[in-house]
Subunit: 332 residues, 2 copies
Amino acid sequence: MLAELIQLMQPAIDAEMQQVISNPQFQSYPGLEPILRYHLGRENQSGQGKKIRPLMVLLSAAAPGVDWRSALPSAAAVELLHNFSLIHDDIEDSSPLRRGHETVWKKWGIPLAINAGDAMFTLSFLALERLSETVGPEAALRSMQVLAQASLHLTCGQHLDISNEGERLIELDAYWSMIAGKTAALLSACMRLGAIAGGATDEQERLLARFGAELGMAFQAWDDWLGIWGDAVETGKSTKSDLIAGKKTLPVVYALQKPGRFYDRWMRGGILPDEVDELSAWLAEDGAQKFTENEVARLTAQAIDSLHMSGFENKYVQGLQELALSLLKRRK
Amino acid sequence: MLAELIQLMQPAIDAEMQQVISNPQFQSYPGLEPILRYHLGRENQSGQGKKIRPLMVLLSAAAPGVDWRSALPSAAAVELLHNFSLIHDDIEDSSPLRRGHETVWKKWGIPLAINAGDAMFTLSFLALERLSETVGPEAALRSMQVLAQASLHLTCGQHLDISNEGERLIELDAYWSMIAGKTAALLSACMRLGAIAGGATDEQERLLARFGAELGMAFQAWDDWLGIWGDAVETGKSTKSDLIAGKKTLPVVYALQKPGRFYDRWMRGGILPDEVDELSAWLAEDGAQKFTENEVARLTAQAIDSLHMSGFENKYVQGLQELALSLLKRRK
């Protein structure tokens, strides 16, 4: 079911994005558009570029019964917003590579990369212009507000993430706040934008948005699990990089709540590759693995619950459920 | 006339901005809002923080006869957009100081500064939300579109500026394109946003926007003149820094069109402080000073013309004219 919908929707998403990226303003300023296309092209080439966010928009719009094509402007908007955040995140994290290719700042330098991210950010708002035609001006206005609120939440989460970088220890509360902004806010906005385009009621919109937020939290928690216990070959990451990188992922944050061998070792910093197996085992023995799995299961169940409480029962809602479960069953 | 209007309007602009900056989302993410307030506070303290852009919005809105207070959301939006661009520009230019204070990136580091700029950008869109109440949803939607178009033009101009940094030589066309994006686009948007809030006709809106664009070009050309021949004491800059900094300002770009002594010296690069007087004199003798003055005069006349062609004759239009002339008579 989901696979068929994806096959139908992805070419339409690509076409919509092509249209937005080909902004007439770029004609008088050659050089900027190719940077945006380079970034989007690398994202698309890889298997990871599944365009989960625009798919969520379209499925959410179709759930109440409208033609999903009318929500294409919103689908393009969220994908552009996501990619803006990747361009800036890569600078902020000094990441030289993304999906095996040079990041924008690595290729063009920090000044042009900051500016290209700003352009991508702007395009995400401009993408919503066409929603006035496909749905109506009221939906376009509300969608711009939703997109802007999600953007602000994103920057809040990112601020917390960067600020915490120097810390060895963060609280569980801070962890949830961070991923609420960094991951859940945009997935929630995807569902809300779809609901707006689809003409859902306020209550349905609220439930669909909650599905998005809960799915986002579950998704991130599972990503954190994979970062420690995922098969390194499958993830394609350098072996168990999250512990070596000192990332404050959910299992780590959980384990650091109480003193003990993991706490003592972690606080000394600089974890080496040959310590990773032992530390992963400690985390598992101390309950951090189980805790993370329980959180993923709890959030997933809540998400599916919210989805069904919205009251829609059709192939699009089924598609959303499949999408949710596939994200949470992935091994990489 | 203008002074009275400024006295009336500036506290209202400040209050509107305070309201926008106090976004409820920040309450769960302390740390980000203080960065934004630091930047805005430094801008406000100095005499330069005259808030020209929001004033233009309010005067433009009042010209057709509506209460300028209804345009306050748009006024806050343009000031926030301008300040977003300053935060990112300072990173892109590696400027350690702004108005005598440390820039955001210098104080908090590049990652947090990029992100704070992104937050300010988002707030500029969120500022327009309240326009739905003060004017109406249609005006709010159109204003968001105008703001986004101006933002994209800004990033286009900035791209050109950064790309040209390594070049010693640029064409006059490239100069005008650059300042059309970097300076004129936002001033044009200010007038357009005011016109929308004020209920001007399409033709009036077009003429007011043209006034803004032409004023922006004149303003930048005059800034370039001051950067070479302005009294260094009055400008508060290090003596004649624009030639030393190798800035491709209008007089320089004009002079480089033909071979000669200035061309030869400029292309060798690295102009020293004790050469500046002679090079300034060469530029004047070769007609670059006169050319720049003529361009300023021509663009100013066009701007004033566009303003009056809009057909409004009242104290607000008078205020706009005064504002335009004051900007172009300034010695610093």
